[in-house]
């Protein structure tokens, strides 16, 4: 299976993937996040894509950061998830699951999709029906 995904997919998912990686692994630096995303099969995330995302998340108060060991060397910036970030991640993941469930239902994937059962019964029930002849 390919590991290079359309840029627009990466753009849509990268914030929650970053938050999830940081929550799972604790204080992490940028390069390590990129490696973990690559190892997860999400493709090569370049620094030029990743750091602005980290900056945005930090600006929103969803990540906190701290520089270590930088005097006279390149140092490392460790980022960690904040409570606010954890709440935002939970919220967006539940919505994302709904969305993915509907996409899968619409394109005629597996009959039983795990995502999307919770708040929105109506459109989800409607989608597979439309596909039936």
């Amino acid at each position: 299976m390919t590991d290079q995904w359309p840029q627009s997919w990466t753009r849509a998912a990268i914030e929650m993937c970053v938050l999830a990686v940081v929550r799972q692994h604790g204080p992490t630096h940028g390069y390590e996040i990129a490696q973990r995303l690559r190892d997860a099969g999400l493709g090569e995330i370049k620094g030029g894509t990743l750091y602005p995302v980290l900056g945005r998340l930090e600006q929103r108060g969803q990540l906190s950061s701290e520089w270590i060991g930088g005097v006279g060397g390149p140092g490392r910036k460790l980022v960690d998830i904040t409570d606010e970030g954890g709440r935002a991640l939970d919220a967006v993941v539940s919505e994302w699951m709904t969305w993915v469930g509907r996409v899968v239902a619409t394109v005629g994937g597996q009959e039983s999709t795990s995502g999307g059962q919770q708040p929105c019964g109506q459109p989800q029930a409607a989608a597979p029906r439309r596909l039936e002849p």
């Binding site: 030029g48 600006q59 930088g70 390149p74 140092g75």
Partner: protein, 173 residues
Amino acid sequence: MTASQVEKYVDSLIFALRMRNVPGEEIGQIVAEVEAHVAESGEAPAEAFGKPREYARTWARNTGHRQGRSDLIRSILGIVAAGAGGSLLGVSVIRTATDKSVWGLHPLLTVLAGVIVMAGAAFALPKADRVIDPRTGLEPERINRSGRRAMIITGAAVLAWLTAATVLALVLG
């Protein structure tokens, strides 16, 4: 990746971020991240981050920095005042030696007016915030060096110009 390659990239990046009015503190962060990342990954900076101009554009868009209207007005006022004050000062210095008056005023008065207008210009211009390296809390040494160089060049130019004006005035007088 070589050290000079990184330095060259960082210099262009700082310039591009400055042009897009990204605050100095943020520039320090962005640059430190680039340095830390390429040190760890071994990539060439342009390979990991793209062209400096494009990376700077991403950041400017990211955090939505624009030069505020008041800063813009101050810039224009400052530049106009600096030009007017400098011209006034130049004309006055020359005429101090040759004429009895400048536009009906004592030449020393117009010299003084020129100095005051120029001082006003320096006051009006928005203060450039400094680039702060988050790892040291200081201004990066490289920027200090280039800043000092710029100051020396400007100082020398002003001095040369004043000397030339005085010599010209004496010769004409």
